[in-house]
C-alpha cells in the first residue's frame, strides 16, 4: 500500500495505520486532499500497516493510530488522529503558523 507522487520530494510523509479501518481510510483521504492542495508535486506518502509490519512501530515511537509522521523536512513532527481538522494538520506540518 505504497503511494508515491513524482516530482520534487521535499516532503516525506509516513502514515501509520493498523489495518484497513474506516478511520485509516478517512485519514488517508484527508491527507491526500491536504497534500494535493498545499504540497502538490513535492511530497511522498508512505503508508505503513502495523498489522503487517508491527516491528516498524518502534522506530517512530508510534502509540496512537493513525499517526502521520513528517520525516522530512526536519524536525520530525507527528500528527495523530484521522486528520479531519485541516487547520490543525497544517499547523502540525508547519504549513501554517500556530495561533
Amino acid at each position: 500500500m505504497k503511494t508515491k507522487k513524482s516530482g520534487k520530494k521535499q516532503w516525506e510523509l509516513r502514515l501509520y495505520v493498523a489495518g484497513q479501518t474506516d478511520r485509516a481510510v478517512t485519514a488517508f483521504a484527508n491527507l491526500k486532499k491536504i497534500c494535493e492542495e498545499h504540497l502538490a508535486g513535492q511530497y511522498s506518502i508512505e503508508v505503513i500497516d502495523l498489522l503487517k509490519n508491527p516491528k516498524l512501530a518502534r522506530g517512530d515511537q508510534i502509540v496512537a493510530i493513525p499517526t502521520l509522521v513528517r520525516k522530512l523536512p526536519e524536525p520530525v513532527r507527528k500528527i495523530i488522529g484521522d486528520l479531519s481538522n485541516t487547520q490543525r494538520v497544517l499547523v502540525g506540518l508547519d504549513l501554517r503558523e500556530r495561533t
Binding site: L50, V63, I65
Partner: protein, 567 residues
C-alpha cells in the same frame, strides 16, 4: 471428566503467578493473580520499577516464564544499567529471547492532535513482543506517562480500559505501575481499571531514617495479608518481611542448650536454656552482659552450631579482641564459618529495615543461635511501642525457626532494675539480671535469674567474676544477716577462717588442760591408793603383832607358872 475438571479449577480458586520476590509470595499466598493485571502504586523512589523488573527477571530465571517490559520512563539501556547493580543482565536475557524490552516515549511538543484516534500502535507493539517470545508476564512501567504525552484524556481512558481487558485475553500476568496521586492511589486513578490486585509501596522518613513498606490493598478472590510489611531493597533486590503475619503457634522444644557457663547451667536445673526460647540478659553498663552472651555464643560454636552475632555497639574486631581478654577466642569460629558478625549502628536505617535485614541474614546463614547486643540501642530510632513490635516480630520469627535468641538490654543505673527499657521483658522466656553493686570502694557483679519459663531454676544470687580464664560464678557470702561480695566477701571469709582457727586452738588448749587435770587426778588417785595400801599393811601388821603379843604373853604365863610349879 470435563465438568469434573472445571469444578476442580473453580474450587481451587484463583490461579497464582509467583513473583519469586522474598516474602511477597507469602503475603499474597502464592503470588499475583495469574492472567490478570496487578497495579503497583507508590510515590517516587518507592521501588515500583524494581519490583516490576524483578517480577519479570525472576519469572524468567526461576519459573521459565518469558516476560515483556514496556517502559514509559526509561529507555532499554537506562533500565539495563539500573538493574545491573542487582546482578540482572538484561542484555543477555534479551539475546536469549526470554525478555523483550520496549521504550515508549511520546514527546508532547512533537505531537499535533487532529480528530479521532486510538492506541492501536501500543497494542500492536505490545502484542508483537508478547507473541515473539511467548511472554507470560508483562510490565507496563509507568503507563500514566501517556497522560502527559497525549492530550485527549477521554480517549486515553477508554483505551486503557480496552488495554487491560485485552491483556486478560492475552492470558498474561501483568504489572501496571502508577505514581501515587493526591486523591487517588494513582495520579490518574488507574485503580479504576485495574481492580484485581492492588499493591501499595510506601517510602517514608521517620526520624530522618527512611523506611520502606508494602501493603496489599486489595486482592480480588484471594486471601492476603493486610498489614503493612517492611520492605528492603539491597544488592539482591527487593525483599518483603512477612513476619508480622506469624502467630503464636511456633513449635516448642524440650531440648536444652548450655549457657556456656557451667555454674549458670546448674542454676537452670543443670542443663541451661531451652532451645528456641528467647533470653534477655539485662544490666547496667559494664555489668558483663556481653561476656555472658559471648560465653553462650562460644559454647554454641564449640558444639558445632552456628551463631549469628548482631552488634549495635561494637565492631566485630573489637568484640573479638575484648572477649579474647576473658579467654574466648571467637576469631576461630568466624574463620570456621560458624560465627557471623553483623555490626551496624541502629541509626543506619529504620527499624523495619533492620528487621528485614536480620530476617534475610537468618534465612541465609541458618544459625542455631542469634545474639543481639544490645537491643536497647534500637530505641534510639523508634519509640518503645515500635521497638516492642519489632522485637515481637524478631522473636516470633526466631522461635518459629527454633533458634535460641539471646538479647542484652542496657538498663540505666538509676531506674528500677526490673524494668527493662524497651518493655520487652514480657516477650522473654528467660531473664538473667546482672547487677553492679558498689561497696567498700569497689564494684562487684552479681547475677541472678529473674525468671525462666518452664523450668526449675535457682533463686540464688551469685557473684559473677570475670578473669583471664573466663567467667566464674561464685557463691556470695551469706552469714550474720548480710550478703557480701568481692573483696568484702574474701575478707569476711578470711576472717571466718581465722576465727575458726582461733576457736580450734582454744578448744585444743582446753582439751590439753583437761587431760592434764585428768592425769593429775589419776596421779593423786595412785598416791592415795598407795597410802591406803600402807594403812592396810600396817593394820595387818598391827593385828599380827597383837596376836603374837598375846601368844607371847600366854607363853610367858605358862613359862612363869611352870617355873613356879604351879598347877
Amino acid at each position: 471428566m470435563a465438568p469434573q475438571k472445571r469444578k476442580d479449577s473453580i474450587l481451587s480458586g484463583l490461579k497464582k503467578c509467583p513473583t519469586g520476590i522474598k516474602g511477597l509470595d507469602e503475603i499474597t499466598e502464592g503470588g499475583l493473580p495469574r492472567g490478570r493485571p496487578t497495579l503497583i502504586c507508590g510515590s517516587a523512589g518507592c521501588g515500583k520499577t524494581l519490583l516490576a523488573m524483578e517480577f519479570i527477571t525472576r519469572g524468567i530465571t526461576e519459573f521459565n516464564e518469558p516476560g515483556v517490559f514496556m517502559a514509559f520512563e526509561e529507555n532499554a539501556d537506562e533500565l539495563a544499567v539500573n538493574v545491573a547493580s542487582l546482578g540482572i543482565d538484561v542484555k543477555e536475557l534479551i539475546r536469549q529471547k526470554k525478555l523483550a524490552v520496549d521504550y515508549v516515549h511520546i514527546e508532547r511538543s512533537e505531537i499535533e492532535e487532529t480528530g479521532e484516534y486510538d492506541l492501536e500502535g501500543l497494542f500492536v507493539r505490545l502484542g508483537n513482543m508478547i507473541d515473539s517470545i511467548g511472554a507470560k508476564r508483562v510490565v507496563l512501567d509507568t503507563i500514566e506517562a501517556l497522560f502527559a504525552g497525549l492530550p485527549n484524556e477521554a480517549i486515553l481512558r477508554a483505551e486503557l480500559r480496552r488495554l487491560f481487558r485485552w491483556l486478560k485475553t492475552k492470558k498474561v500476568t501483568a504489572i501496571i505501575t502508577g505514581e501515587q496521586g493526591d486523591k487517588h492511589l494513582t495520579r490518574h486513578g488507574l485503580e479504576e481499571y485495574v481492580s484485581d490486585c492492588v499493591i501499595f509501596l510506601d517510602h517514608r522518613l521517620i526520624n530522618q531514617v527512611a523506611t520502606r513498606r508494602l501493603r496489599v490493598i486489595k486482592y480480588r478472590g484471594s486471601k492476603h495479608g493486610t498489614n503493612e510489611y517492611p520492605t528492603l531493597i539491597d544488592e539482591t533486590g527487593l525483599s518483603v518481611m512477612p513476619i508480622s503475619s506469624l502467630g503464636l503457634t511456633y513449635p516448642v522444644s524440650a531440648v536444652r542448650v548450655s549457657t556456656g557457663i557451667p555454674r549458670l547451667d546448674t542454676m537452670f536445673g543443670g542443663k541451661g536454656y531451652f532451645r528456641g526460647t528467647s533470653v534477655l540478659v539485662s544490666g547496667t553498663a559494664g555489668s558483663g552482659k556481653t561476656s555472658v552472651v559471648t560465653a553462650f555464643a562460644d559454647s554454641i560454636c564449640g558444639k558445632g552450631g552456628k551463631c549469628l552475632y548482631l552488634s549495635f555497639e561494637e565492631s566485630p574486631d573489637q568484640i573479638i579482641r575484648n572477649m579474647g581478654s576473658i579467654g574466648f577466642d571467637l576469631g576461630k569460629w568466624v574463620k570456621k564459618g560458624l560465627m557471623k558478625f553483623r555490626s551496624v549502628r541502629p541509626t543506619m536505617f529504620g527499624l523495619e529495615t533492620h528487621l528485614v535485614s536480620i530476617h534475610k541474614l537468618v534465612e541465609d546463614f541458618q544459625p542455631t543461635a542469634v545474639v543481639v547486643d544490645p537491643v536497647t540501642n534500637l530505641s534510639s530510632i523508634g519509640d518503645t511501642d515500635e521497638v516492642k513490635a519489632m522485637m515481637m516480630r524478631i522473636i516470633d520469627f526466631l522461635k518459629n525457626k527454633q533458634i535460641t535468641a539471646v538479647f542484652t538490654s542496657l538498663s540505666s543505673g538509676s531506674s528500677d532494675f526490673e524494668q527493662s527499657e524497651v518493655g520487652i521483658s514480657s516477650l522473654m522466656d528467660t531473664w538473667i539480671l546482672l547487677r553492679n553493686i558498689e561497696t567498700d570502694g569497689e564494684r562487684n557483679r552479681l547475677l541472678y535469674i529473674l525468671k525462666s519459663r518452664g523450668m526449675a531454676h535457682s533463686n540464688q544470687v551469685r557473684e559473677f567474676v570475670l578473669s583471664d580464664n573466663g567467667i566464674a560464678l561464685q557463691d556470695v557470702y551469706i552469714g550474720s544477716g548480710t550478703v557480701l561480695t568481692g573483696s568484702a566477701r574474701m575478707a569476711q571469709e578470711a576472717k571466718d577462717r581465722s576465727q575458726e582457727f582461733l576457736d580450734n586452738q582454744t578448744s585444743e588448749h582446753r582439751q590439753l588442760e583437761l587431760r592434764q587435770q585428768h592425769l593429775a587426778i589419776d596421779a593423786q588417785i595412785a598416791v592415795l591408793k598407795a597410802q591406803s595400801e600402807g594403812i592396810q599393811k600396817e593394820m595387818k601388821r598391827l593385828s599380827a603383832n597383837g596376836r603374837q603379843k598375846n601368844e607371847m604373853l600366854h607363853q610367858q604365863k605358862e613359862d612363869i607358872s611352870r617355873i613356879r610349879k604351879a598347877d
